[in-house]
Structures are given as structure tokens and as C-alpha cells.
Subunit: 291 residues, 2 copies
């Protein structure tokens, strides 16, 4: 048993799936769920995602060995501030936010200093769906979880959080928060921005209703992430603003260069870009074992 | 029986799948395949995709009721020119190119004028894979096929091509070539350009090898179309250059507006864009019956 009591604040797709996975692995004793929205919490309880439901954070974290904050990143500072007075000194706190620099800053603000028991974390997993209903125990199987401990983070706290994620089926990696934020801006935040922007762009065209009629399977896959929770992605974009702006700028330059080549009828350039992209994408897909 | 003999020039994903579908529907007598690459042609024959293999276009089209040109759009003018002297006056010719204005221009150049028996067409179907090996009979099931006949196109020719596609399981729609090229630039050509550009952009970053390690399922779906055949997409982009440049420009403006909002911390704007995009994408997904 890795922990007698785990408290999960925010029982949506990620929090709910972690609860299911930990229960499935018999890794913990009691799982207490806490959620701002009582209906969601009730639903999580009914679905058997959590053992006990608490709408009050202060009560929820009481006697917990580990608290997992799985709310949108924009609300984490508030959550940290609410639970701060009620945590035992030994209670380990971790989060699942998609940006780590902003979450560490939120913890610093809320706790006065980043506690040595706080382990910033981010599971690289998800679907375009959200909510406890969308949660499933296998979400983290063979997925990566990145932990970004600070120099002051207690190594026993890191080890505990690592063990929980491993029990949920994930592969755990450690890196700096800065590096995490750079990598995720490129591989996750930018693609979401591009997908949202494309669909928005098309939806605003005069004949948008008709346009979507002729979209095929490639468009469906390409835009799937534009069905993700807008509020959550609003939070993530603002939280990782600087890194995201950096990769948007890089992408914009590449797109402009490609448009110029197209305008000039420079087919060689197009072919080179497409070939290199296909090669990189095929290599990536092979590694993952699926296309 | 819709035709005694159909000749398919280019037995890749599209041509091969059409051959399989027509055979499955027992819609035609003999299917003659023709391909520039003898190995591909041999493979198509071995796979049973076609009844008879011809490397020479002139021989392949002999006595065919319908000739389907399913080569990359960049090579269609050459193919039209090769077959022109060998076609019977009644032979119907159609194509599967992703841009229609350029194919009509190619037909005009190769034939002297666009023949009344030529029916420009485009099945809105495909996968990121290519070649006869990737072909399958169900590719066109419940997919749309757009025909863009000209005023001079014989209506009996349109009816025959329509019947063949319907036999293959597709839903056939007619529109102008101009409108087709606008719609496809937005829903297909632009997404491919964005996916290729994103992967190319990431692959050029210093730590690209590592970056791809942390890409998740959303990235996998988003970039699937970047595994498409580079040569084919090179052709399509050049063939539909003007319309594609138009939508790239519109997209670039939207992306720049979003980046400005992000820089300004204008969360309301981000949320509005993301919400509208999600709404449009969910509506599109519902209609298709899959997410």
C-alpha cells in the first residue's frame, strides 16, 4: 500500500482516471474526492471513481498522505491557498497541470514558499473529452508523467509521487520546469492553438456550414483536439504564455516561408519540407507503435 | 453492369480502392490497370486489385468504356496527352485529382479543348498511407465524391461516372470547379500544410529528438496527415496555389490576432475563439457520427 489516504481535488478526466487507476492497482487505501461543482462530485461518487466525496477542500485534505490537485491550472493558486492551513507537515502535495512554471509560482504565492513536500507533476495523457464520465483506469498506461522537482523538494516526496504514477501504469521522468514548459509548448500547446485557430477560421468563412460538409477523415483527426475543454486551454495558454508565444512565432515564420515558396512556384522547397516532416512523423509514429 | 471495361491509370490508394470497390459491387466487367512503375503494377495484379496490367497507357485505354486517371495531379497533363490519340470518341474520361481547376486546364492543354466526355471528379476520401497495398474496397463507403462538370460536359458522361462512384458506395455531389477548389483549400490543403509545417518546425528545433518523446495522443492525431505522400501534396499545393495562398493568409491573420491577445493577456478573446471552435468542431463530429 503506497498511501492510506489520497485526496484528489478535481475529479475530471485526469483526476478521475488517476483515482480509477490507483484503485485498480490496489495501491492506496481510501480515495477522497473533492470538487467545486457538487454535481460532478456526486457523479464521481456514483460512478465509483472515489470512495468519499467532500465539497470542502479543508475537510477533504484532512489526514491525507498525498493530495493531488487536478483542477485547471488557472485555479490552482486558489486551491493551494484554501488547503494550505489544513495540511499536515508530512502531507505530500502534487499537481497535474500542463504548465509547470506557473504552478510553481502559484504554490510559492499560496504557501509563502514552495513547500519541500510539493512535487510539481504533469501526466502526458488525455483525450479531447473531459469530466469524471470520461475518466478511465487505463489512461496512463505506458504514458509518460513528467515531474519537475525543485532543489528544495524532498526526495522522499518525489519517490512517493513517482510510485503512485508507476502504480497507475505510467513511466515517470524528471526534468526542470523550464524545460518541461518549452517542450510542452511545442508538442501540445501549439498544436491545440493551431487546431482551435483553424476551426475558428473556417467557421467564420461565409460558407462555413457547407465547408465542413466536405471535410474528410484527415480533417477529423487534425481537428480532434479542437474539441478539448476551452476553459482549460485558456488557462494553459495564459499559464505558459511566454514559451507558447515563442513557438507560435517560430511556426509563423515557417508558414510564411512556405507561403513564399508556394507563391514563387518553388516546388523544391515544398517537397523538401514535406519529405522531412513525413520522415520525422513516421519515425515518431513507429516509436509509439501506432500510426 | 455499368461498364464492360474500365481502365484505371495509377493503381495507388485511390485507384486501387476504386478497382476493389467496383469489383466487389460486380459493377464492371474487366478492370485494366496501368501504372508508370512496373513493380507497383505487378503488385496490384498479384493482390487481385486489377484483372489485367498494362504498362503502356495507349494499350491500357483500348476499348475501355471509362478511363479513370488516378495519378498525382502534377502528372495528369502528361497522362492525358499520352492517352488522347488512343481514346474512342465515346470513351468517358474522369479523374480523382484534389484540385479541379488545374486538372481542367491540363485537359484543355492535352486534348486541345476539354472533351465533352471528360468528367472532372474528386473523391473526398483517403488515408495517410499510399500505394496499392494500402487500398481497400470500403474506402469510399459513405464518403462524398465531388464532380465538377463543365457546361460542355455531356450529361450521359456525368451520369455514368456518378453511377460508378455510387456503386463504390459513395455519395456524389456536383459543384463548380472554382467552388470545389475553395472548399478543399480550406478543409484539406490548408490542414495538410499546417501539419507538415508544424512537424518540420519541431524537427528543426535543437532538442527535436527529445521533443517528440513527450508528444501524446493529441499530437499523434494532429500530425497524422503529415505522414501523407510528400510528392502528391507538393503537386496538390502547386495545383491549387491561389486558393491555398488565400486560406494560408486568412489563417495567418487569425493566428497573429490570437498571439496578440495572448501577449496582451486577453483571456476573454482566447476563450471566445476556443469556445466557438469547439462548438463548430463538435457539430461537425456529430454529423459524421464519430469524434
Amino acid at each position: 500500500m503506497l498511501a492510506n489516504r489520497v485526496c484528489i481535488i478535481g475529479v475530471g478526466l485526469i483526476g478521475g482516471s488517476l483515482a480509477r487507476a490507483l484503485r485498480g492497482a490496489r495501491a492506496v487505501g481510501e480515495i477522497v474526492g473533492c470538487n467545486r461543482d457538487p454535481a460532478t462530485l456526486q457523479r464521481a461518487r456514483e460512478l465509483g471513481v472515489i470512495d468519499r466525496a467532500e465539497t470542502d477542500c479543508a475537510r477533504a485534505v484532512r489526514s491525507a498522505d498525498v493530495v493531488v490537485v487536478a483542477t485547471p491550472v488557472g485555479s490552482m493558486e486558489e486551491v493551494f491557498a484554501q488547503i494550505a492551513p489544513h495540511l499536515d507537515a508530512a502531507t505530500i502535495v502534487t499537481d497535474v497541470g500542463s504548465s509547470k512554471g506557473s504552478v510553481i509560482a502559484a504554490a510559492r504565492n499560496a504557501f509563502g514558499a514552495v513547500p519541500p513536500t510539493f512535487v510539481p507533476g504533469h501526466p502526458i495523457a488525455g483525450t479531447e473529452r473531459s469530466g469524471a464520465e470520461a475518466s478511465f483506469a487505463e489512461l496512463f498506461q505506458n504514458r509518460k508523467v513528467i515531474l519537475t522537482p525543485l532543489p528544495e523538494t524532498r526526495s522522499s516526496a518525489v519517490a512517493k509521487v513517482r510510485a503512485l504514477w508507476e502504480a497507475a501504469g505510467a513511466q515517470v521522468i524528471e526534468m526542470s520546469a523550464e524545460h518541461h514548459d518549452q517542450v510542452l509548448a511545442a508538442t501540445s500547446h501549439l498544436p491545440h492553438v493551431l487546431a482551435y485557430t483553424l476551426v475558428h477560421c473556417l467557421a467564420r468563412m461565409d460558407d462555413s456550414r457547407e465547408i465542413f460538409n466536405y471535410a474528410a477523415g484527415g480533417f477529423r483527426d487534425f481537428t480532434r483536439i479542437a474539441s478539448s475543454d476551452p476553459r482549460m486551454w485558456h488557462d494553459i495558454c495564459l499559464a505558459n504564455r511566454d514559451e507558447l508565444l515563442g513557438v507560435i512565432r517560430k511556426f509563423g515564420i515557417e508558414l510564411e516561408t512556405l507561403a513564399k515558396a508556394l507563391r514563387d512556384g518553388n516546388g523544391e522547397y515544398l517537397l523538401k519540407v514535406f519529405e522531412q516532416a513525413k520522415e520525422a512523423r513516421d519515425r515518431f509514429a513507429e516509436k509509439g507503435g501506432r500510426s
